[in-house]
C-alpha cells in the first residue's frame, strides 16, 4: 500500500515534532502528472477473453435515484429515496443513499451504486486524516475539492453524482457534484433520475432562511415527488438534518410505500393466501454421507503479539 502516513508523528502527540518530518496531509502517493490509463489495456483484454468464453462483463448497478438538499436558517437538510435498480428490476428496496463523510458533513449519492459508496468512503477516510493533521473540524469546501479532483481525474468514468452538505465554521454549505468533476454551490440542489420532479417542488416552494420543520417538509415533498413520478425511485424517504453541533440522521423519515398486505396476514386466519410449504415438499432424490477420517497429527499454540 503506498502511503505517507508516519505513525511516529501522531503517537508522540506533539505537533512540533512533525516539523522535522514532512507534514503529512494526504495518504495516497502523490499522483504522477497527467492521466493514468494503466488499467484500460487490461480491461479490454479481460472483456474480450470473457466474451470468447461466452460471459459478458457484469454491468454496474445504478441507483436511479432522487436525492436533494436545501440550506435553511441553521443548517442543511439532505434527503434521498431508498430504491436501487438493476435495469428495470428493483435490486434493493431499502438501501441507504446518504453517506457519512465526517461528523458535520454528509453526502447523498446517485448514479452507479459502487462508485458513490467507494468514492464517499475514500474521501471520508482522507478527510479524517486531514482533520487530525489540521486539528480542526473539516470544512465542506475541502470535501468538495477532494471529491471534484478525484472525479475529474477519472474523466467521468466514475459514475457518481453527489449532493454534499454540511455545517462548518463558516456556516451551512451545499454543493452538487457531477461525475465529470464540475461542482455548483447553491442553496437548493437535486440529482438523479427523479431530479426534475424534485426540482419542480423546490422551484415552487423554496424560500431563503426557512425554519427546520419547514425545510424538512420541503425536502420530504421533493423526494416524494421523485418517488411517485419517477420509475427509478421509490420506497421510503431518508432525511439528514445537519446543524451546528448536531446531526439528525432520520432513516426512514417517511415510509411512503408499504408492501400490499396479503389477506392471509390481515385476518390472522389460515386463508387461501398462505404460501408456506410443508416439510418434505422438496423432493430428496438421493442422499450420500461420506464420513471423513481425520487423524490429529500435531497441535501447537502460536501467541499473537498484542503489545
Amino acid at each position: 500500500m503506498q502511503h505517507l502516513y508516519r505513525p511516529a508523528a501522531f503517537v508522540s502527540g506533539k505537533r512540533g515534532s512533525s516539523s522535522t518530518k514532512m507534514a503529512t496531509l494526504a495518504v495516497r502517493r502523490v499522483p504522477l502528472g497527467g492521466f493514468s490509463f494503466e488499467n484500460c489495456k487490461r480491461n479490454s483484454v479481460l472483456e474480450s477473453e470473457a466474451n470468447k468464453v461466452g460471459f459478458s462483463v457484469p454491468t454496474a448497478r445504478k441507483t436511479g435515484t432522487t436525492i436533494c438538499g436545501v440550506v435553511f436558517k441553521d443548517g442543511v437538510v439532505l434527503g434521498a429515496d431508498t430504491r436501487a435498480t438493476e435495469g428495470m428490476v428493483v435490486a434493493d428496496k431499502n438501501c441507504s443513499k446518504i453517506h457519512y463523510i465526517s461528523p458535520n458533513i454528509y453526502c447523498c449519492g446517485a448514479g452507479t451504486a459502487a462508485d458513490t459508496e467507494m468514492t464517499t468512503q475514500i474521501i471520508s477516510s482522507n478527510l479524517e486524516l486531514h482533520s487530525l493533521s489540521t486539528g480542526r473540524l473539516p470544512r465542506v469546501a475541502t470535501a468538495n475539492r477532494m471529491l471534484k479532483q478525484m472525479l475529474f481525474r477519472y474523466q467521468g468514468y466514475i459514475g457518481a453524482a453527489l449532493v454534499l452538505g454540511g455545517v462548518d465554521c463558516n456556516g451551512p454549505h451545499l454543493y452538487s457534484i457531477y461525475p465529470h468533476g464540475s461542482t455548483d454551490k447553491l442553496p437548493y440542489v437535486t440529482m438523479g433520475s427523479g431530479s426534475l420532479a424534485a426540482m419542480a417542488v423546490f422551484e415552487d416552494r423554496y424560500k431563503p432562511d426557512m425554519e427546520e420543520e419547514e425545510a424538512k417538509r420541503l425536502v420530504r415533498d421533493a423526494i416524494a415527488a421523485g418517488i411517485f413520478n419517477d420509475l427509478g425511485s421509490g420506497s421510503n424517504i431518508d432525511l439528514c438534518v445537519i446543524t451546528k453541533g448536531n446531526v439528525d440522521y432520520i432513516r426512514p423519515h417517511d415510509e411512503a410505500n408499504k408492501k400490499g398486505v396479503r389477506r392471509g396476514e390481515l385476518e390472522g386466519v389460515r386463508l387461501t393466501g398462505d404460501y408456506k410449504y410443508k416439510r418434505g415438499t422438496t423432493a430428496v432424490l438421493s442422499k450420500a454421507v461420506n464420513p471423513l477420517d481425520l487423524e490429529l497429527l500435531e497441535e501447537s499454540v502460536q501467541t499473537m503479539d498484542t503489545s
Binding site: E47, K93, S235, N257, K259, G260, G273
Partner: protein, 237 residues
C-alpha cells in the same frame, strides 16, 4: 481521449478511423410496460392486468387497464406498445362484428384465438409489438386461456403471465397452480376465490420488484353469469 474502447482485443491500440456522418433512425416502437395474467379454472376464467402506462422513467397514466372485453365470455389482455394494443383491439372488435353479421352468432373463445393468430401473422414483417393473452369460457363452459407471441404463435394454457413482470410471475404460478417442483402435495382443483386471491398476491409481489408494474390491479372474472370486475390498489412508486 484515451479509453478502453481504443484498445483492441490483443491489447494493442486500434487504428483511428473517421466514421463519417451517422444516421439516426426513427424507431416505430415504444415500450409502455404493463403486466397481464390469465388463469383458467373448471368453470371460470380470470384475466388480470395492472393499470400503469409508462415510458422510459416516466408515467403516462396510472389508470390505463390492459384488459379489454371482447364478448360476454371472452376478455383479452394486451401489453407492450400501447399504440399497437389500441389498434389491435379495434381490429379485433371490427372482425367480431363482421363475424356476427355474417354468421349470426358470437365468436367463441377458441375461434377468436385462431383469428388473432392470423391477424398477427399477417403483419409478420412489421409486427404488432403486443403480448396477448386471451381468457374466456370454451363451448363446454370450461375456462380457457390462450397465450400469444407478437407474431401469432399461440397455444391453449391453464395459466399464463405476459408483459414486463412475466418472468417474475410465471414461476410462482407454475408452482402454485401447476404444482411443479413439489412432492407429496395433493392436486386440488383451483377454486375461484383461491385463484382471485393468488392473482392479487402475485401482483403485489410483482409491483415490489418491477418498476413498470404498479398503481392498481384490474381483475376480470369470467363465469357463465357474465364478467365481473374488481379494482385493487397497488404501490404507486
Amino acid at each position: 481521449m484515451l479509453s478502453a474502447q481504443n484498445f483492441g482485443e490483443s491489447g494493442k491500440m486500434k487504428e483511428y478511423h473517421y466514421t463519417g456522418p451517422v444516421e439516426h433512425r426513427f424507431s416505430p416502437y415504444a415500450f409502455n410496460g404493463g403486466t397481464v395474467l390469465a388463469v383458467a379454472g373448471e368453470d371460470f376464467a380470470i384475466v388480470a392486468s395492472d393499470t400503469r402506462l409508462s415510458e422510459g422513467y416516466s408515467i403516462h397514466s396510472r389508470d390505463s387497464p390492459k384488459c379489454y372485453k371482447l364478448t360476454d365470455t371472452t376478455v383479452i389482455g394486451c401489453s407492450g406498445f400501447h399504440g399497437d394494443c389500441l389498434t389491435l383491439t379495434k381490429i379485433i372488435d371490427a372482425r367480431l362484428k363482421m363475424y356476427k353479421h355474417s354468421n349470426n352468432k358470437t365468436m367463441t373463445s377458441g375461434a377468436i384465438a385462431a383469428m388473432l393468430s392470423t391477424i398477427l401473422y399477417s403483419r409478420r414483417f412489421f409486427p404488432y409489438y403486443v403480448y396477448n393473452i386471451i381468457g374466456g369460457l370454451d363451448e363446454q363452459g370450461k375456462g380457457a386461456v390462450y397465450s400469444f407471441d407478437p407474431v401469432g404463435s399461440y397455444q391453449r394454457d391453464t395459466y399464463k403471465a405476459g408483459g414486463s413482470a412475466s418472468a417474475m410471475l410465471q414461476p410462482l404460478l407454475d408452482n402454485q397452480i401447476g404444482f411443479k417442483n413439489m412432492e407429496g402435495v395433493e392436486h386440488v382443483p383451483l377454486s375461484k376465490d383461491k385463484a382471485v386471491q393468488l392473482v392479487k398476491d402475485v401482483f403485489i409481489s410483482a409491483a415490489e420488484r418491477d418498476v413498470y408494474t404498479g398503481d392498481a390491479l384490474r381483475i376480470c372474472i369470467i363465469t357463465k353469469e357474465g364478467i365481473q370486475e374488481q379494482n385493487i390498489p397497488l404501490r404507486k412508486d
